[in-house]
Symmetry: C2
Subunit: 205 residues, 2 copies
DNA sequence: AAAAATCAATCAAACGATTGATTTAATTTT
DNA sequence: AAAATTAAATCAATCGTTTGATTGATTTTT
C-alpha cells in the first residue's frame, strides 16, 4: 500500500504527463489522489516543489545499472552497450509518464532547478557513453568512433521518437494486435545494427 | 512591416515556445505584441484558436519543398533524400520557436484539433519517406530498406535531439566560438553516413 | 496510572490574485 | 462613412496557497 505522500506523487506525475505542469491544477491532483488540497503544502511545500520531487523520486537509480554493466568483465564492450540500451528502453516504457515529463522539460525553460537537474543528468549519460567508447577503442573492439554527441543523439533520439510515435506508426502501417511487442523487438535489433556499424564492430552473428 | 495579426501570431509563438501554452497568458501576449487584449478575440476568436492558427501558419509549405525535390530527375535518389534532410535541418533552426511548440505538442494530449493536425502531418512525412524508399529500390540505388518507422525515428530523432541539446553538448565538449556552425556541418555529414549505410547505398565519395 | 502536553495528519473554508473572455465607448485609420 | 483598433471596466471561473480547527496517537509530566 502506498503512503499518502507517494500517492500524491504518482497521481501528480500522471497528470503532469498528460496535460503538462501549468495545465494541471493542485485541486485536480488532490482529487485524483483522494486527499485534501492542503496536503500538497503539507508534504511538499508547493506545487513547484512537488514537481521537483517527482524528478528526485524517479531519477535516482537510473544510471546505476549502467555502471554495474560496465564492470561485467566477461562481456564484450559492444554487448555492454547493447545491454545498457535495452535496459534504457525498458525503463522508458515502464516509467512512461515520467519520461514524457522529462522530455517536455528538456524542451521547456520553466523550472530552473529542474533544468539544472536534467542537464547534469544528461552529462552523466554523456560521460557514460564516453567511457564505453574509450573502453571499446582501448580493447580494439571499436574500429572507429563517431562524434560522441551525435551517437548520443541517435540512440536517445531514435528510442524516444519511436516510442512516442508508436501509435502513429501503428496506424500508418496498419498494425494489428501484438504490434507493440514486435515493434520493440525490432527496435532493439535495429539499434544493434546501427551501433555495430557506427562503432566499426566486426560482424559475427 | 508585419500586420497586427501576424505580430500577435509571432509573439504568441515565441512565448508559447518559452513557457508553454497554459503558462502564457493572453495579457502577456498582447503586451509583447503591443496590442490591446481584445485583439485576440477580434482576430482569432480565442486563445485556443490563436494557438491552432500558429500551426496553420507554420505548417503550410513545410513538405512542399520536399516534393519539389522529388521531381528533380537529374538527382540520384539518395541525394534527393539528403537534400530534403538538409532543408529540414535548416527549417528547424529557422523556425526554432515553432518546432519547440511542435515537439511539446507531440508529447501532450491537450489540444485535440492540433493533435489531429500533427498526426496527419507526420503521416505525410512517413508517406514521403515511403516514396523515397520505393523510388530508390525501383531504380536499384538502395540495396536494402530499413523499417520505415525506425528510419523516420532515427532521422527526426537524431536531428531534433541534437539540436535541442546543442548547448549541453557544447558545455560538455568545451566547445568555443563557432561551435554551432561546425556542429551543424558535422551533423549533416553524420546523417549522410548513416543513411547511406541504412539504405545500402554504394560509396563513391 | 492518570493527566497534561506534544505531535503529525487531515479537513473544510476562505484568501487574494489571475485567468480568458466580453462589453461598451472612444479613437484612429482607411 | 466604414473598418480597424484602443482603452478601460467588468465578468465568472479558477488558480495556488493559507488558515484555524480537529483528530488520534504518542510522549511527557505529575
Amino acid at each position: 500500500m502506498l503512503s499518502k505522500e507517494e500517492n500524491i506523487l504518482i497521481h501528480a506525475e500522471q497528470l503532469f504527463a498528460e496535460k503538462g505542469f501549468a495545465a494541471t491544477s493542485t485541486r485536480e491532483i488532490c482529487k485524483a489522489a483522494n486527499v485534501n488540497i492542503s496536503m500538497i503544502a503539507y508534504y511538499f511545500g508547493s506545487k513547484d516543489k512537488l514537481f521537483e520531487r517527482i524528478f528526485e523520486y524517479r531519477m535516482q537509480g537510473g544510471i546505476t545499472y549502467a555502471y554495474q554493466v560496465l564492470e561485467m568483465d566477461h562481456l564484450k564492450t559492444i554487448d555492454k552497450f547493447l545491454l545498457i540500451i535495452d535496459k534504457y528502453i525498458e525503463r522508458v516504457r515502464t516509467l512512461k509518464s515520467f519520461y514524457l515529463i522529462l522530455q517536455r522539460e528538456q524542451i521547456n525553460n520553466n523550472n530552473p532547478s529542474t533544468q539544472k537537474f536534467i542537464r547534469e543528468f544528461k552529462k552523466n549519460y554523456l560521460k557514460l557513453f564516453q567511457e564505453i567508447l574509450n573502453t571499446g577503442i582501448r580493447k580494439g573492439e571499436f574500429k572507429q568512433t563517431p562524434e560522441l554527441a551525435f551517437l548520443h543523439s541517435t540512440v536517445t533520439g531514435t528510442i524516444l521518437t519511436s516510442l512516442n510515435a508508436i501509435t502513429t506508426y501503428k496506424e500508418f502501417l496498419n498494425g494489428g494486435e501484438g504490434f507493440e511487442e514486435e515493434y520493440i523487438t525490432q527496435l532493439k535489433a535495429y539499434l544493434k545494427k546501427i551501433l555495430k556499424y557506427l562503432l566499426g564492430h566486426e560482424k559475427n552473428d
